[in-house]
């Protein structure tokens, strides 16, 4: 089957029920997307399919119909996205393991809703666990990214 990931086509030959996560990590070698729980409970594996956030640990690769974006595909080559920049400005990550998933969920939120309220952030982000408890800075980063995106029209 053919998968379009971050704009590149990949021909892969695996069981159709293999979760997208393990195709990305073990078959293609894109390890920015993380394994956390395997049952769509923690959000560490969040990627986009046609811009919508999905839990790749529980998404059979055979059902992927659209274009896949992973953390490696955000921004443009050598340039971080506004969300990633806000994450650095606010010194958000601690251990960092969940952050790819957090950033993918936040990016999807902001592309649907350029001015999220705290309640909007709660709804969009409550599927992503951070055991280090970086939540206060995740919230601050999302607000900051929203502001930056408005200012630059990005």
């Amino acid at each position: 089957m053919n998968l379009n990931i971050n704009g590149d086509d990949h021909e892969i030959n695996v069981e159709t029920e293999m979760p997208l996560l393990w195709v990305l990590r073990d078959e293609i070698g894109l390890t920015g997307t993380k394994f956390g729980c395997g049952i769509a409970q923690c959000g560490a594996c969040t990627v986009h399919i046609d811009g919508q956030p999905v839990r790749s640990c529980s998404y059979p690769v055979g059902q992927v119909k659209g274009k896949v974006t992973t953390i490696e595909g955000l921004g443009s080559p050598g340039v971080l996205s506004k969300v990633q920049e806000a994450w650095i400005d606010n010194q958000t990550p601690q251990c960092g393991y969940c952050q790819s998933g957090q950033i993918m969920s936040a990016t999807a939120l902001l592309s649907n809703n350029p001015s999220p309220t705290d309640d909007d952030i709660d709804r969009a982000m409550k599927g992503n666990i951070c055991r280090c408890g970086s939540y206060p800075r995740i919230r601050a980063s999302i607000h900051a990214a929203a502001k930056a995106m408005k200012e630059t029209g990005a």
Binding site: D26, F35, E72, C95, R131
Partner: protein, 757 residues
């Protein structure tokens, strides 16, 4: 491990005080500088770098600071690099950090300081005894990360490393220019001659500097001249953590690497009774299934998911466990332990039995806390390769020399044959101080004909094969005086973590286990009549270090009961706490006064004392040297209890990076509250019941309010910050719920008794 080290391990803990340790080994040997592992490792055969000491590497591309403590989210690489940069005059933007190799040279020098005195005691004699413990610690040579020790351990070490490197670079420049070294200055990676403004980069001086002996005790700068310490700098590890390039063990890629997982006995210590692996072995992508010492299986495959699937397809009947199979039976063993000889007695003041025999009214309460798992976001994972007599391990780990020594013993290797590559840790919290997952990876890689293998645990294996924060039962008796408690008598039953760890690690368990009581014992409580007794039920359920260790439950026990005593006489808990300090710990008074000011504290019930839908709770714990006071505000909503705001004042002695300290304190609070609200590991049929985040939940973003942190610097000594946020968070919430509802929560997790948003 040197022979001396081995002898030290066997004999040192027999001696009752570290002072004896000092006399035994003498200061001569202690004062010799540690060998530099950078000049003796993989890169040292034909080095293209200079290394004046074990912490600094200078090559043509720049300066790399070896930060030999595990970066598990606490920002330790930046904290330690700031200390070096402060003395070496580096430009922060050019700084590179590396974990470096496993080496006894990176020993934790303050590892056994906690054996000496109370944490709030800074008398000259206690400080002297603390310093003496650095001598046996050096001979133990344990490189580890934990106990909130990295910052206090590194504070002099890392600055000295920077200062000493600076001196040799200046000398090298002085030779080059034929001038007096005292006439030269340094700035942002250059030696400068102020007379003619000539500059030489450290990178250009590295080769010459390598020939000059570095002083081991260079003078350190006066704090008034600090440029980095006390300011917030961008953490060096963060850019890679937002673009997916940060490498955790689970991300290591090697040529020809296999992917494996494990399936261990769900009953601790119980082996395989019978099994059938034929179905699993025939599944797609499976290379091999092996048994691990009859304790479980490893499935070796070409893809992690295929390995997981095959592991599920192994059919196996396990032996029964030695401990009671059901939760109720386990707790019965705890209850029974109260009738045994105490494991330890702490803070004994006055004649408690006589006092309680005479006193009329007293308050009694029993508290219970459950076992807890760590549930780091990255499940246990390690990569291993065993080839041509050489072992390589890639793992996020908190104790690299312990892993190295264990592998040397299993496979009869020399230290130089075993290479531990420490990656970023996807969370540690104490779990990655254990060597089980790295040794399993070694044992698996020993059977793959030299091919590297990545061993990834499923979340279920991770939660069900932890070294748990032990459960505890505590029985308190107390008498309230005029303004503060007049007497408390405490009995705590909880298994000894040190005993459990001694069965699998290098440190023997001798004498009472202080960890059972820490956080109830050792508090600056100026109470006339006191006694804390501990009881240690023996069960073969592995227990280990969990963020803040004994204080993780003793903070809840002690501070909940203090709140009960205050409430019994309708006394304000903060007024009572300030009375309780006496003259014991002035920095404690200051954090309590500060948090009260931050929250505009005006009593426990409602923000203004009138609003029945709101309540606030206060708690204070001294742990890991840091006085920490918190106030939590809660309110009742239709969906349940909501945490509205958290205030914390913490005293760290010297704040290295305030922004990072804030993050760590918030992190410790959220980790504590996660456990308080919903965290519980229980047993049925000898197995852990919980298995993943649906039944072992963590706090999520919608439950976390604003957390305001104020950092104070009154403590006479610098402290770490990874753990002190955790202990008071749990009782502050329980006390807030009492203020809100009148319900006293004496059993965790709290969601057994109340509902949360």
């Amino acid at each position: 491990m040197s022979k001396l080290g081995t002898i030290t391990r066997r004999t040192f803990f027999v001696t009752s005080t570290a002072v004896v340790g000092g006399a035994l080994f003498g200061t001569y040997k202690y004062k010799q500088p540690v060998p530099n592992p950078l000049l003796d490792g993989d890169d040292a055969i034909d080095p293209d770098f200079a290394s004046p000491n074990p912490y600094i590497k200078i090559d043509k591309d720049g300066v790399t600071v070896i930060t030999p403590r595990a970066e598990m989210g606490q920002g330790v690489h930046s904290t330690l690099a700031m200390m070096v940069a402060e003395e070496l005059d580096l430009d922060w933007r050019t700084i590179k950090t590396e974990h470096g190799p496993a080496s006894n040279s990176y020993y934790m020098s303050i590892m056994i300081e906690a054996m000496v005195g109370h944490q709030y005691d800074y008398s000259t004699s206690t400080q002297f005894k603390r310093r003496l413990t650095h001598i046996p610690a050096k001979f133990l040579g344990i490189q580890m990360t934990g106990g909130s020790m990295s910052t206090p351990d590194g504070f002099v070490k890392m600055r000295s490393a920077g200062a000493s490197a600076r001196l040799v670079l200046i000398q090298a420049a002085a030779i080059e220019w034929s001038v007096d070294p005292d006439s030269l200055t340094t700035e942002d990676g250059f030696v400068i001659n102020p007379v003619n403004n000539e500059k030489l980069a450290y990178t250009a001086l590295a080769v010459k500097a390598a020939e000059i002996d570095a002083p081991s005790h260079p003078p350190l700068r006066d704090p008034s001249r600090w440029r980095y310490i006390g300011k917030s700098v961008p953490r060096v590890d963060i850019p890679a953590k937002v673009d997916g390039t940060a490498e955790f063990a689970i991300d290591v890629k090697l040529e020809g690497m296999l992917h494996a997982t494990i399936k261990m006995s769900p009953r601790f210590g119980a082996g395989i009774k019978s099994s059938d692996t034929s179905k699993a072995a025939a599944m797609p992508g499976v290379e091999k299934i092996i048994t691990l010492k009859n304790e479980g299986f490893a499935v070796i495959a070409n893809n992690t998911w295929r390995a997981f699937k095959a592991a599920n397809a192994i059919s196996v009947e396990w032996e029964t466990a030695s401990y009671p199979a059901e939760q109720a039976g386990i707790m019965k063993a705890y209850e029974a332990s109260f009738n045994s000889e105490p494991n330890g007695k702490f803070d004994v003041k006055g004649d408690i039995d006589l006092y309680f025999a005479d006193v009329g009214d007293f308050i009694e309460a029993e508290y219970r806390v459950p076992h807890l798992a760590h549930s780091t976001m990255e499940p246990m994972t390690a990569v291993a390769q065993v080839k041509d007599g050489r072992v390589d391990i890639w793992a996020g780990n908190q104790a690299p020399v312990v892993i190295r020594d264990a592998i040397m013993k299993i496979g009869d290797y020399k230290a130089s044959d075993v290479h531990i590559h420490t990656t970023f840790l996807g969370g540690g919290f104490g779990r990655r101080a254990e060597s089980d997952f790295t040794l399993a990876a070694y044992n698996i890689a020993a059977q793959t004909d030299g091919r590297p293998v990545k061993v990834t645990w499923s979340r279920e294996e991770d939660i069900q094969h932890d070294f748990y924060r032990p459960a505890a039962i505590a029985r308190f008796k107390g008498v309230m005086g005029e303004k503060k408690p007049a007497a408390i008598d405490v009995q705590i039953a909880s298994p000894s973590i040190m005993l459990s760890m001694s069965k699998r690690g290098p440190i023997p368990a001798i004498g009472p286990d202080k960890l059972i009581a820490e956080g109830t014992a050792g508090q600056p409580d100026d109470i006339d009549h006191m006694r804390i007794q501990t009881f240690a039920p023996k069960l073969d359920i592995p227990v280990g270090f969990w963020r803040s260790v004994g204080a993780s439950f003793n903070g809840f026990l002690h501070e909940s009961f203090m709140d009960e005593l205050a409430a019994s006489k309708n006394i304000d808990p903060i007024a009572m706490r300030l009375e309780m300090f006496g003259d014991l710990a002035p920095p404690g008074n200051k954090v309590v006064e500060k948090v009260a000011q931050m929250a505009q504290w005006n009593g426990r019930e409602g923000i203004n004392g009138t609003d029945n839908d709101r309540g606030r709770g206060f708690a204070y714990t001294l742990s890991f040297g840091a006085h920490t006071a918190q106030i939590i505000d809660v309110s009742m909503t239709k969906q349940g209890i909501k945490i509205d705001k958290i205030y914390c004042a913490v005293d760290v002695g010297v704040a290295i990076d305030p922004r990072n300290i804030e993050a760590q304190i918030q992190s410790g609070i959220i980790y504590g509250l996660s456990s308080a609200m919903t965290g519980e590991i229980t047993f049925a049929d000898g197995k852990v019941v919980q298995s993943n985040y649906h039944d072992y939940p963590a706090m999520r973003i919608h439950q976390v309010p604003e957390i305001e942190v104020t950092i104070l610097e009154n403590n006479p000594q610098i402290t770490g910050v990874g753990e002190p946020g955790t202990p008071p968070s749990i009782p502050a919430l329980a006390n807030a719920i009492f203020a809100l509802t009148g319900q006293r929560i004496r059993e965790l997790p709290m969601n057994k008794h109340v509902e949360f948003v």
